[in-house]
């Protein structure tokens, strides 16, 4: 016990590999424990706050407000929530710098105690530090910290403030478990934990039936994917007898390339990933998840949790590289989701819904990346997306915050999230306006913003993979390539549309309300500014050599750092890919080199942005309450292709009918009938038999005699 406690607090147990000799982990366990500590403290405050409010309400008071007009239990969560995140980020940073200095070839596994051990199956509570988990930890704690800070401003006036921070810290704890766990079961613990926190935070305002339903929907849809994760784990255990990453990946190549087993394992893993990362056909929960507070959407439903599926595929890259069918499925689902979600985003009027579909679309890109063997590119897009999408969500949060306040002041009940009620906000919120434009240009893929490098590399890799010497389905990848490019153009369009509708043109909020629009407070805009810088320069850490050599990569200013950094993780998959597919192509499906297509895509994206500014800016947008019902195809897009209705009609309703049948006929009718029937039979028999008990001695004697005679008769004859 002391040993494990010391290991937890101190420098950790013995490193598993010799290659780690240079890398000394610095309190790695504390990185996970700090958010848990925050959860416990904030949770206790939340309980206290809840009881205090209940007492106050019973006494007739509104809430226990102190002189500042803020609930009295606000100060401590404001310190604890972001505080533990800052400490965790600093610890991660120290470990990151140490790992930068060490040339880590093998992952460092630190085992604290045996979590469970039954027969031949044993799982340790062990964390794994390697290049991939380190990148994820940096994103989770770094972006997470900024979002916590933003939340201090955004949630300031909410009655459930301590509870909010408790959930948020708990989420970070589980997310870190997910990315740091050294085995699939531990990863699954984090996987389920973030799902739980997602549910809790989507339904944060649970008094609203619609919002708590959205939380349930997210949880249930995720569960469908989790079945896949579980089955994949069972298959792995059956095959290898262990679920720890290091031995699993070491023995992975004993599986047959393209064999049925590895394809089944990877496809089941992908089912799990599709649920968590909102890919078709399980994406429907993410748009509804926007019911939660906006910083939650930024943290969970844009930057971290939804990328867990991408992390899972990147982590299992060896298996996916072994199965061309599964890889093609991953890329295909990714590219279709990217296009599908982008078209829906074209017509959404809710600012958060636009961003939600944009997130689904960008997650699609990440899956395309990891599906075409560009695991580093997928993780790269995950990282840049975390920057600019967190920024976009928090910017939207700042806008909603301001709009809400404006409507609140004038007691107007218009929708504070509807872009048709916005317009011309740049005058009132200049910082939000500029930072969000940075993120928009980044997501649109315009040089030199972060999204350009990551998205362009993914699109390039589709062509390179499809053009490889022994590529499995070359024609299919050409189709993927075209769709990915088309979706990128749509992204540029709908994001610009969102910006123009929100910030440009004339204001549609209302004459009284417009006076109350204000810039976000400093605690909210500073995280925006930091993320804007990251969205601007974040892409330069991974510039492909071909681009670096041209003016686009700015030569020595940039590097292919991330690609090399992740090499120990992806090397095995790359090796398998090279052995079976041959060398990757050096030109796009329709000819042309990397630099040429980079220029073409930027020019195209910029053209779309300008066209969109002109087109949307030229449109006359009317406030939501005066808007006519759309018709034709835009109605289909606005209603999200009626996918929810389709699911409701063909999946949910049949299940409800079946459940009702099971309840009314099978359970209430047959099962209860049998149980009650047994009871009634026993009672009836007993009632009839009790008639024999007359109390008269002679009757008993008579029955006895008859019985004796019968027995005698039977034994004699």
């Amino acid at each position: 016990m002391y040993a494990s406690l010391a290991a937890l607090l101190g420098q950790g147990g013995a490193p598993a590999a010799e290659g780690a000799a240079h890398f000394e982990p610095f309190f790695p366990g504390m990185i996970i424990l700090l958010p848990l500590l925050g959860f416990v403290l904030n949770g206790l405050l939340a309980i206290r706050h809840g009881m205090a409010s209940a007492v106050a309400v019973r006494a007739g008071a509104e809430l226990d407000l102190d002189e500042g007009g803020r609930p009295a239990t606000h100060t401590l969560p404001s310190l604890i929530g972001p505080g533990v995140m800052l400490l965790a980020f600093i610890l991660t940073l120290v470990n990151f710098i140490r790992m930068l200095g060490a040339h880590l070839e093998e992952p460092v596994v630190i085992s604290y105690w045996t979590w469970m051990s039954t027969g031949t199956f044993a799982v340790d509570a062990a964390i794994q530090l390697d290049q991939l988990s380190m990148i994820m930890m940096m994103v989770v704690t770094g972006v997470g910290f900024l979002i916590h800070v933003f939340s201090v401003g955004y949630m300031k006036e909410d009655a459930g403030y301590p509870r909010y921070f408790a959930y948020l810290n708990l989420f970070v704890f589980f997310m870190l478990t997910l990315v740091m766990g050294a085995s699939y079961p531990l990863m699954f613990v984090g996987w389920e934990g973030v799902g739980l926190c997602s549910y809790l935070l989507i339904g944060f305002w649970f008094a609203d039936r619609e919002k708590s339903d959205a939380g349930k929907k997210a949880f249930i849809v995720n569960r469908i994917g989790d079945v896949g994760f579980l089955v994949a784990m069972f298959l792995l255990y059956k095959t290898f007898g262990t679920l720890d990453f290091v031995p699993l990946f070491h023995d992975a190549e004993t599986l047959v390339y393209g064999g049925g087993l590895v394809t089944a394992i990877t496809l089941f893993f992908f089912l799990g990933a599709a649920g968590k990362s909102a890919q078709m056909p399980l994406y429907v929960w993410l748009p509804d998840a926007m019911a939660g507070p906006t910083p939650v959407s930024a943290l969970i439903h844009a930057a971290t949790m939804v990328t867990a599926g991408v992390y899972l595929v990147a982590r299992s890259s060896v298996y996916f590289a072994l199965s061309p069918v599964a890889s093609a499925t991953v890329a295909g689902v990714g590219v279709l989701t990217a296009l599908f979600a982008a078209t829906i985003a074209l017509k959404q009027n809710d600012i958060k819904k636009v961003l939600a579909y944009s997130t689904i679309s960008q997650l699609g890109y990440m899956f395309v990346g990891v599906g075409v063997g560009a695991y580093a590119a997928g993780v790269f897009h995950l990282m840049t997306h975390a920057f600019f999408k967190a920024l976009l969500f928090m910017g939207a949060g700042a806008v909603i915050h301001s709009m809400h306040k404006a409507y609140h002041t004038t007691h107007n009940h218009e929708d504070a999230q509807d872009m048709r009620n916005m317009g011309g906000l740049k005058k009132h919120m200049p910082i939000t306006w500029i930072t969000m434009w940075v993120a928009t240009l980044a997501i649109a893929g315009i040089w030199p913003f972060a999204g350009f490098f990551s998205k362009d590399e993914i699109i390039w890799q589709i062509g390179a993979f499809g053009g490889a010497a022994n590529a499995p389905y070359p024609a299919l990848y050409t189709v993927y390539w075209i769709i990915a490019l088309a979706a990128a153009m749509l992204t540029a369009f709908y994001m610009t549309r969102m910006m123009v509708m929100t910030f440009h043109g004339t204001n549609r909020t209302g004459e009284e309300e417009v006076k109350n629009l204000h810039e976000a407070p400093v605690v909210m805009w500073v995280p925006l500014a930091i993320l804007a810088v990251l969205s601007l320069v974040g892409g330069w850490i991974n510039v492909p050599p071909a681009i670096r050599e041209s003016f686009l990569g700015l030569g020595p200013l940039t590097s292919e750092w991330l690609h090399h950094w992740l090499e120990p993780i992806t090397a095995q998959a790359m090796h398998i890919q090279e052995a079976n597919l041959g060398e990757l192509s050096h030109s796009a499906p329709f000819g042309g080199g990397e630099v040429m297509w980079a220029i073409i895509s930027t020019v195209l994206a910029m053209t779309v942005v300008f066209a969109s500014v002109r087109f949307v800016g030229g449109q006359k947008v009317v406030p939501a309450k005066d808007s006519p019902e759309p018709a034709g195809f835009s109605k289909v897009l606005l209603n999200k292709y009626y996918v929810d209705e389709f699911y409701d009609r063909f999946i949910v309703q049949p299940i409800i009918r079946m459940s009702r049948f099971c309840w009314r006929v099978i359970d209430a009718g047959i099962i209860d009938g049998i149980v009650n029937g047994v009871g009634w039979t026993a009672r009836g028999t007993g009632f009839v038999a009790s008639m024999l008990q007359t109390g008269t001695v002679n009757t008993y004697a008579f029955i006895l005699t008859v019985g004796v005679l019968v027995i005698l008769g039977v034994s004699i004859f």
Partner: protein, 97 residues
């Protein structure tokens, strides 16, 4: 010889059985049970002439048990009579559903 003894035993047993089934007076029923027991005793003694002494030994056991039974049985009948002032078993129907 044994046939006659067994026939007598059977007749006595039938009388005893009929008495237990037909009569309602607890004392008479009791006496009939004693009659059944003694019919059995007679059969035992008769058989012991053919098969050795064990039959007679059993008779002593039966008589002992009958004596003990008589003591308990009479005690019950007496206490019932004190309570109900009758020994007609048709009046005793307490142990009923």
């Amino acid at each position: 010889m044994i046939a006659q003894a067994l026939v007598l035993s059977a007749i006595l047993f039938m009388i005893g059985t009929a008495g237990v089934l037909i009569r309602r007076n607890a004392i008479i029923m009791f006496l009939c049970i004693e009659l059944q027991l003694n019919a059995v005793n007679l059969a035992f003694v008769a058989f012991s002439r053919l098969h050795g002494i064990e039959g007679q030994l059993f008779v002593f056991f039966v008589m002992t048990v009958a004596a003990a039974e008589a003591a308990v049985g009479w005690a019950i009948i007496i206490s019932i009579f004190r309570h109900y002032e009758t020994v007609n078993v048709d009046n005793f129907k307490l142990l009923r559903w």
